[in-house]
Subunit: 379 residues, 2 copies
């Protein structure tokens, strides 16, 4: 079920077959540096989210630039990351079910593993699994700071879970997980600032509540690419979990930048290369990339370098560009770069990153092929 790579290392850009998942290596490396510098400046730890890239080699590049480890959402992702050499992984999610708990506890014998809880029954199951595996797992209590998804209410409910964790010899209470996912995609700086201000108050209150009972939070984790400046400056969070910053996407580009900045600090570094495979109508170009090549859950991709045209009407294997608003008439076989609407689930459709050096220049070449090693790792 692993497909052949769509290119060979060393080959010119024009020889990449399509659809292909392209990384502009120069932009990607600048994004890595920018976030590492931001975490330094803010005085917080960086633990980037590997749910975005699903790749141990990308994780290793983040760690080489100062990240303390990575986080991910699934046990199967954590297994692939640890097998690829990552030694510190937080599953920033609840792990429920006997098979998954057994795998997580076994993995904790081979790396520093932490995980989140939001239910007292789950604390007991986790403790039993860790005891059976003779491993030790660090546990963060997840609080709901606005996402209405996982997490207990801030304050006393978090304290009850901390006590349950502390009652187990195989578990260590590690602190709080306080991630506000919906705030990442609020469009104006004021909305994002306000949302994180409310989350800050709730999180600080919970930390106080825990401290009064003698619980110290080694880690207060959260934040994403849309809001990390706020959590980072709050003096409440000490670990940032941004993921998408390495690639950016069309959805994040719709956020109005914070403060007086004209542009986002991060560049588009991830593209889907597509071919014009239909020109049977003068007013339409059909691309060979549809739902199976692009995740359209957060909106359609934009066409790189052609802001006047729109990708629309995707079906499973096709997308359509209407040419009414442009004099551009792509020829049959022409290759087009698309910026995905949503990077994480788009990456999950591919087996290979095609890493390109000199992207956008006539000398552009395939420098590397990286496996999307945890693609499909949903369990």
């Amino acid at each position: 079920m692993t497909t052949l790579p769509p290119a060979e290392i060393g080959s010119p850009f024009r020889n990449i077959d399509t659809p292909a998942l392209i990384v502009d290596l120069d932009a990607f490396e600048r994004n890595l540096e920018t976030m590492a510098a931001a975490a330094d400046r803010l005085g917080v730890r960086l633990r980037p989210h590997a749910k975005t890239h699903k790749s141990p080699i990308i994780a290793s590049k983040q760690i080489a630039r100062g990240a303390v480890g990575v986080c991910c959402q699934k046990v199967a992702e954590a297994e692939v990351l640890v097998a690829g050499g990552v030694t510190d992984v937080l599953v920033s999610n609840e792990v429920v079910g006997p098979f998954k708990l057994e795998r997580l506890a076994s993995l904790a014998r081979h790396a520093r593993i932490s995980v989140c809880v939001d239910h007292v029954d789950n604390v007991g199951q986790l403790a039993a699994a860790a005891e059976r595996a003779r491993s030790r797992i660090e546990v963060l209590v997840e609080i709901d700071v606005g996402g209405r998804r996982c997490g207990v209410e801030p304050g006393m409910p978090a304290l009850a879970l901390a006590r349950a964790i502390a009652a187990s010899k195989a578990l260590t209470f590690g602190g709080l997980q306080a991630y506000y996912g919906a705030a990442q995609h609020m469009r104006t700086p004021a909305e994002r600032r306000e949302a994180i201000a409310a989350a800050t108050a709730a999180t600080a209150d919970t930390i106080r509540c825990l401290a009064e009972d003698g619980f110290n939070c080694r880690t207060v984790g959260g934040a994403g690419t849309g809001t990390f400046e706020h959590e980072g400056a709050s003096r409440v969070w000490n670990e940032l979990q941004a993921g998408s910053y390495i690639f950016m996407d069309t959805d994040y580009a719709k956020n109005v930048p914070d403060g007086d900045k004209a542009a986002h600090p991060f560049e588009h570094a991830l593209f889907v290369l597509a071919t014009v495979m239909g020109r049977s109508s003068e007013m339409r170009a059909v691309l060979d990339a549809g739902h199976k090549a692009l995740s359209n859950d957060s909106g359609f991709p934009t066409v790189w370098g052609r802001p006047e045209v729109n990708y629309h009407r995707p079906s499973d294997e096709h997308g359509v560009i209407e040419l009414g608003a442009t004099s551009w008439r792509p020829v049959l076989g022409e290759k087009i770069l698309l910026i995905p609407g949503h990077c994480d689930p788009t990456v999950n459709l591919y087996d290979w990153y095609v890493g390109v050096r000199g992207f956008g220049t006539p000398e552009a070449r395939v420098e590397t092929l990286w496996p999307v090693a945890a693609r499909g790792a949903v369990t």
Copy 2:
């Protein structure tokens, strides 16, 4: 990049890990029989679409029940099907680009391969590739019968392409591809009947136009799960290309059945099994299946056996069920069956089908694990 299967053959249903792609083998086999009988009754050939299942073993089951071969959309899919033993594959799509054409022409030395065209330049490229590979490819002219995607206008433009095909020694003119994708999902029988009536007139007209010039259409292919009764009864099409009928999905279930029938002829046979991994709120259950486990492009999944609740607010790894409209209170760890919104791109997210015998009974067991062998085969 191939994940471990979420279950073992022989294990009881309750031991399947989640998210997992489940096939109810009994319903699936009834769907196979129902469509085979329909093609017999209509007096047309059946060439089911393998873009739905991406699996040589499922193709072989269709062929064992009388299908003449299968179709698919991508060269990479055709390669996997041929490698899995299928000897007759139509790529019901245009193939553009030198690498793909070379692969298609090479594949034609190992199986009966046909493909569609809608551009005269592509005919020349295809002929050159087949000549280089010393292979023979059968070519259908695709006409646009309403999809506004690929295909030339019906009538004379199709004749021009037929002449170009006939001018090449390596190509054989095979007939017409006339598929109306959007008609499959029109909700009322009257809309679908009207759409296919218009497509029938355009296709019949093109056949006449070709016949006047001496071109005989061995194949007139098209139709899908939503409209096949109309194409099948038209005496214009002679090859049905339905795909989704084997599994069905929430989107197809929204079609009002044809004629005076109360129900669709096909049953839901494909499910995503998910776990309740969040019950931190009394009024909400969080599932471990989001965008990476379900393709939500045609609407969200429905909850099997619980029509009163809705799956909504999916994020990459989570989905939410609000419990306000029900007295049902699922416990943490409870497993839930979802009917995907759209079967084809959901299948493409998984490496394994978990085939269950006795689905829905206490004796339900994993009978088979089938690889989604052409998962991710986008080139």
